[in-house]
C-alpha cells in the first residue's frame, strides 16, 4: 500500500480498539446508495521506477529549444542553491505559519521577502505574495476600487499584457467594476491624449512598465495625470527591470499600489507555473491590501519574533466581508525568490537587468539588419523585449524556426489585429552572442525564402525539410 504504513496486525488492533469489525463499517453513516464501485478511469498503480521512466520519457520527448519568447515569463539563470534549499522538507512540507512559534523560519523569511519587494518597488510595505502576476493585478484593481470608494471605473491600457487583461476581466467584473481600455499610440505606448480624456471620474489607472511590447511608458507623467484626476495608480512592473528602471514608488509622486509577476526571481518557466505575484503599497493603504502579511514583534521574553498580522482583513476572520477570499500565498516560490535575491544581491540583480537589456538590444540590432524585418516602434526605448514586424507570414516563420530548434518569439496577431506581422522577441542574460547569431542566420534564411516564394512549402509538423 503506497505511503500507508499499517500492517494487518496494526489494522486489526485499531479496529478492535474502535469496536468495529471492519474498516468498511466506519463508513456506515454514508447512505449505501452513494457508495461507488471501483474507479474505471484511474490506471493501476505504478512503482516509483515505472513512473520515473514515464515522466523522463515525457519530459524529454519534445526536445530542447533555444528560446526567445518572453511575453510575461522570462528565462533567467537560477543559482543552484535556490531550489536546493527551497525544497528542504522543512520549507517544502510546512503549512501556512498559523502556529507562529513552530514557523519562525518561514515567517522570518517572509518578513525578509517583504523588505526586498518593498525596496525593489520603491513602496512602503509589501504582502507575502499572491498567486501570479495577473491575479495580483486583479486584486490590485479590487483594492483600488475599495480605496477610492466613489467610482468603479478602472482604466486599463491596451499596452497591458492581453492575458492579464483577460484575467482581470474574469475576476473583477462580478463586482460590477468596469474596465475601460486606454488605446495605444503609434509609438507602442499609451496614448496620452486619450488618457487625459478618460481619466476624469476614474477610480484607478493601471500603468505597465515596461509594457507588454517591451516599451517604456512615460510612467511619471501618467502618475501625475492620474493624481490630478484623483484616480489611484497601480504600477505593473517586472521585478528585474526594477533593479535598473525607476520603480513605481519613484514615478512622480509615487504609485499607490505596485504589483507584478515574480517568476523572474527564481521560478523556472515550468510551462506557466507555479509562479508568484507580488504586491506592495503605500503605508496608509495597508489595511485594504489582500493576502498574508508578516509583522515583526517580540515573544514573552522580549526576543525578536515574527507572526502573521492584520488577520482581521482575511477570510478566516471576516468571512464575507474579507478583503479577498485568498487563503494561501505562494510560499514555496517566495522562499525561492528570497534566497535568489539574497544570492544575487543588489549588484547581481542590476547586472541581470543590464545584461538582459543589452542582449535584447543586440538581438534587435542583428535581426533588423535582415531585409524584411524592422522594429515596430523605432523611437521608443525598450527594456528586454521588442516588437519586430516581419515581411513574411509570422506563423510560418515560427514553425520553420521551431524545426531548427529555435522558439523565435510570441506572435502578436491573435491579440492585436493591427500587428498581424508582429513578433515579440526577448533575450535575457541567458543568451550569448552565438545564440543570437544562430537565430539571426536561421531567420534570415527563412524570411528571404518566404519573401520570394510564398506560400510556404512547409505543410505539417513531420516535414522538417524546408
Amino acid at each position: 500500500m503506497p505511503f500507508i504504513p499499517h500492517t494487518p496486525a496494526d489494522t486489526a488492533a485499531m479496529l478492535e480498539a474502535i469496536g468495529a469489525r471492519s474498516v468498511d463499517e466506519l463508513f456506515d453513516e454514508i447512505p449505501e446508495a452513494l457508495r461507488c464501485g471501483p474507479l474505471t478511469h484511474v490506471p493501476s498503480a505504478l512503482t516509483e521506477q515505472q513512473i520515473s521512466r514515464l515522466m523522463q520519457e515525457r519530459a524529454t520527448a519534445d526536445g530542447t529549444f533555444l528560446n526567445f519568447i518572453g511575453a510575461g515569463a522570462y528565462e533567467h539563470h537560477i543559482p543552484a542553491a535556490v531550489w536546493e534549499i527551497a525544497t528542504r522538507g522543512e520549507f517544502y512540507t510546512a503549512y501556512t505559519p498559523y502556529q507562529a512559534e513552530a514557523s519562525q523560519g518561514t515567517l522570518q523569511l517572509l518578513y525578509e521577502f517583504q523588505t526586498m519587494i518593498a525596496s525593489l518597488t520603491g513602496m512602503d510595505v509589501s504582502n507575502a505574495s499572491l498567486y501570479d502576476g495577473s491575479s495580483a493585478l486583479a486584486e490590485a484593481v479590487l483594492m483600488a476600487v475599495r480605496l477610492h470608494g466613489n467610482s468603479r471605473r478602472v482604466l486599463m491600457p491596451e499596452t497591458v499584457h492581453p492575458l492579464y487583461r483577460q484575467v482581470v476581466e474574469a475576476i473583477v467584473t462580478a463586482q460590477s467594476i468596469v474596465l475601460e481600455t486606454v488605446p495605444a499610440g503609434e509609438d507602442g505606448r499609451t496614448d496620452m491624449d486619450a488618457l487625459r480624456k478618460q481619466l476624469p471620474g476614474a477610480a484607478a489607472l493601471v500603468i505597465p512598465q515596461p509594457n507588454f511590447f517591451g516599451c517604456l511608458e512615460d510612467a511619471p507623467e501618467m502618475v501625475q495625470l492620474a493624481q490630478e484626476a484623483q484616480a489611484l495608480t497601480i504600477g505593473l512592473v517586472n521585478p528585474i527591470a526594477c533593479a535598473l528602471l525607476a520603480p513605481p514608488g519613484e514615478w512622480g509622486p509615487g504609485c499607490d499600489i505596485a504589483v507584478g509577476e515574480g517568476q523572474s526571481l527564481g521560478a523556472p518557466l515550468s510551462s506557466g507555473g507555479p509562479y508568484f505575484g507580488f504586491m506592495a503599497c503605500k503605508r496608509p493603504h495597508v489595511r485594504q491590501m489582500p493576502g498574508r502579511i508578516v509583522g515583526r514583534t517580540v515573544d514573552a521574553e522580549g526576543r525578536d519574533a515574527f507572526t502573521l498580522t492584520l488577520q482581521a482583513r482575511e477570510q478566516h476572520i471576516r468571512r464575507s466581508k474579507a478583503t479577498s477570499n485568498i487563503c494561501t500565498n505562494q510560499g514555496l516560490l517566495v522562499t525561492a525568490a528570497t534566497i535568489h535575491m539574497a544570492l544575487l544581491g543588489p549588484a547581481g540583480l542590476r547586472q541581470v537587468a543590464l545584461a538582459s537589456h543589452a542582449h535584447t538590444k543586440r538581438l534587435v540590432a542583428r535581426l533588423t539588419a535582415i531585409a524584411g524585418i524592422r522594429l515596430a516602434y523605432p523611437n521608443t526605448p525598450f527594456f528586454h523585449e521588442a516588437v519586430l514586424r516581419i515581411d513574411a507570414p509570422v506563423p510560418d516563420v515560427l514553425r520553420a524556426l521551431e524545426a531548427q530548434g529555435i522558439l523565435g518569439g510570441y506572435a502578436l496577431s491573435e491579440a492585436f489585429a493591427a500587428l498581424a506581422d508582429g513578433l515579440l522577441v526577448c533575450a535575457t542574460e541567458t543568451k550569448t552572442e552565438a545564440d543570437i547569431e544562430r537565430y539571426a542566420e536561421q531567420l534570415e534564411r527563412i524570411v528571404s525564402k518566404r519573401r520570394m516564394e510564398p506560400p510556404c512549402a512547409y505543410k505539417d509538423n513531420n516535414q522538417r525539410s524546408l
Binding site: 453513516e29 512559534e101 511619471p220 518557466l269 507555479p274 509583522g295 510560499g331 539574497a342
Partner: protein, 487 residues
C-alpha cells in the same frame, strides 16, 4: 538575525554575475532608478547557511506529525517533486507551441481524466491556483449558468455556519449575498432552516461533505433534491475529499460543481502556504462555463482548449496554465496510488481518525459530536477542561508543540467553543498515533496539576508566545537600515 544583518556593502557574488554585452542604452535618465536597492550583500555560503538555519526553525510534515484538521498534512512523496522538476518540464516556456509540450500536456490530460473519475463529474479544468480560486471559479460558473438562462433574480448563496471562511468570502467576491444556514446539534444541516432559507433568490448552496465538523451529512441526497427543486445549484468544497476518495463521488451526491485541493488530497506540498492547486469539476450543464485553458486530445495529439471554442467560459484565472508544476506533482502521486490505492486512502484516513477519537475520548477529551463516526478528522471541544482548569484550547495546542507535535486546527469552526479539529491522515502509522495520544494524556494531567506550564507554553521552541497585539498595533512589516525609522 536577519539576512540584512549579515550584509556588508561591496560584497558581491561573482559566480552569480552574468556577463553582459557592453552596449549603450537609450533609456532616458528620468526613467532610471534613483534609490539604492536594499538587498543583502552576502556570500553564497552566508545565504545558504542563513536559510538552512531558518528552515530548521519550522515544523513540517517531514519532521513532525502535523494533525492539522482540514489541511490534510500527509506525506508528500519525494518522487512527485523530483519528477516534476525534470529539466524538460522546468525549461518549457508557457507560450511555446503545443508541439513542444506533448509530454507535459499528456500528463495534464490524464490528470483531468483521473479527477473526473474520482469526483464523478463530466468535465475538469485544472487552472485554478488554489482552493479559494477554485471556489471562485465554481461560484462564477453558477452565476454564469443562471445568467445564460436569463434567471438573474438569484442573488443569494446559502452556506452552512460551519463552512470555511473562504466560502462566504468567495460568494461575496462573485457579487452574491450570503445566507448562513444553521447546523443541528448532531452536526448535520438543519433541514427546516434550509427550507426556510431556500427560494427563488437561491443561486446555490456551498457545502463541504464531510463537513468541517468532521461528520458526513447523512441527508445529503435530501439537501441536493431541495436545492435543485428550487432551481439552485450545489457546490462541493473539496477540502475534505480525502475522507471519501474512491468511496463516494461528489457527482453521485448530486453536486453540480466541485473544487479539489490537490495540496491536500493529492499530496502536493503546502510549501509554507502555497502553491496550491484547486481544479474544478462540473456536471453536464456547467461544461460550457469551465475556466480555460483546458487540455483536449484528438487521436493522440494534445492541445489547448481556449475561449475560442468555449465562448461561454468564465475566462482565465491565471496568466498561463495555473500552477502547472503542482499539477505534475499531483499526476505523479495519482499514478503511484493508482486505481486500487484511491479507496485505501479514505479507508486508512478514516481508520486513523476513528482510532484517535476513540482513544482520546477514553482519556476524557470530549468529542463535539458524540455518537457520530469520525470521518478523516474529528472535532473535540475543550470547553469543560477550560471551565475546570482555565486551560484553553490554545494552551493545549502550544504545549503540544513542546512535545514535538504540530498543533491541530484550533478555534475552527467558530461555532464550537474551545475546539480542536484533528486530522491524522492515512500516512501516519500506529506508533505515531500512540505517541500523540500519550502526549495528550500528559497534557491532560498537566492541566489538572500544573496549568501554568500549559499557559506558558511553548517552552522549548525558538520563541515563546508572541505579542500579537503589538504586531498589529505597531506595524513593522519591513526592515530598514538602523539609522532610519522602520515603515
Amino acid at each position: 538575525m536577519l539576512i540584512f544583518d549579515r550584509s556588508q556593502p561591496g560584497r558581491v557574488n561573482a559566480a552569480q554575475m552574468p556577463p553582459a554585452m557592453d552596449l549603450p542604452s537609450d533609456i532616458p535618465e528620468a526613467l532610471l532608478r534613483r534609490q539604492p536597492l536594499v538587498l543583502p550583500e552576502v556570500s553564497e555560503l552566508q545565504a545558504v547557511r542563513h536559510y538552512t538555519r531558518l528552515s530548521q526553525r519550522n515544523f513540517s510534515i517531514d519532521t513532525h506529525f502535523y494533525p492539522l484538521g482540514s489541511c490534510t498534512m500527509k506525506y508528500n512523496p519525494r518522487a512527485s517533486n523530483a519528477l516534476a522538476m525534470l529539466p524538460g518540464f522546468l525549461n518549457r516556456h508557457p507560450l511555446a507551441p503545443e508541439s513542444t509540450g506533448q509530454g507535459f500536456l499528456a500528463c495534464l490530460f490524464e490528470l483531468q481524466e483521473i479527477l473526473k473519475d474520482v469526483t464523478g463529474m463530466r468535465g475538469v479544468s485544472l487552472t485554478p491556483m488554489a482552493g479559494a480560486q477554485g471556489e471562485f471559479a465554481g461560484v462564477a460558473m453558477i452565476r454564469a449558468y443562471h445568467k445564460a438562462r436569463g434567471d438573474e433574480a438569484r442573488d443569494e448563496i446559502l452556506i452552512p455556519k460551519a463552512a470555511h471562511g473562504t466560502n462566504p468570502a468567495t460568494a461575496a467576491m462573485c457579487g452574491y449575498r450570503v445566507h448562513e444556514i444553521d447546523v443541528k446539534p448532531d452536526g448535520d444541516i438543519d433541514l427546516a432552516a434550509l427550507d426556510a432559507a431556500i427560494g427563488p433568490r437561491t443561486a446555490g448552496l456551498m457545502l463541504t461533505n464531510p463537513s468541517t465538523l468532521g461528520v458526513f451529512d447523512r441527508h445529503i441526497l435530501d439537501i441536493a433534491q431541495r436545492v435543485h427543486k428550487a432551481g439552485g445549484l450545489l457546490y462541493y468544497d473539496g477540502a475534505n475529499l480525502n475522507a471519501i476518495l474512491g468511496q463516494v463521488k461528489p457527482g453521485d451526491m448530486g453536486f453540480d460543481v466541485i473544487h479539489l485541493n490537490l495540496h491536500k488530497t493529492f499530496s502536493t506540498p503546502h510549501g509554507g502556504g502555497g502553491p496550491g492547486a484547486g481544479p474544478v469539476g462540473v456536471s453536464e450543464r456547467l461544461l460550457p462555463f469551465l475556466p480555460v485553458p483546458i487540455v483536449g486530445e484528438s487521436r493522440g495529439h494534445y492541445y489547448w482548449i481556449t475561449e475560442k471554442t468555449r465562448p461561454q467560459s468564465i475566462g482565465r484565472l491565471s496568466t498561463f496554465m495555473g500552477n502547472a508544476g503542482v499539477l505534475l506533482r499531483a499526476y505523479v502521486y495519482a499514478r503511484l496510488i493508482g486505481r486500487e490505492g484511491m479507496p485505501r486512502i479514505a479507508q486508512y484516513a478514516v481508520l486513523n481518525a476513528n482510532y484517535l477519537l476513540r482513544k482520546l475520548a477514553a482519556l476524557g477529551f470530549e468529542p463535539a459530536y458524540k455518537g457520530r463516526r469520525a470521518t478523516h478528522e474529528f472535532l473535540l471541544t475543550l470547553k469543560n477542561l477550560k471551565d475546570a482548569t482555565s486551560v484553553t484550547a490554545m494552551d493545549v495546542a502550544k504545549r503540544l508543540l513542546d512535545k514535538g507535535y504540530h498543533a491541530p486546527t484550533v478555534y475552527f469552526p467558530l461555532m464550537v467553543p474551545e475546539c480542536f479539529l484533528i486530522e491524522p491522515t492515512e500516512t501516519e502509522g500506529l506508533d505515531e498515533l500512540d505517541g500523540f495520544i500519550a502526549a495528550m494524556a500528559e497534557i491532560l494531567l498537566e492541566a489538572r496539576t500544573s496549568p501554568d506550564v500549559l499557559k506558558g507554553a511553548p517552552h522549548t521552541l525558538p520563541v515563546r508566545r508572541l505579542d500579537e497585539v503589538r504586531a498589529a498595533r505597531e506595524l513593522n512589516l519591513t526592515w530598514t537600515p538602523p539609522h532610519k525609522t522602520h515603515s
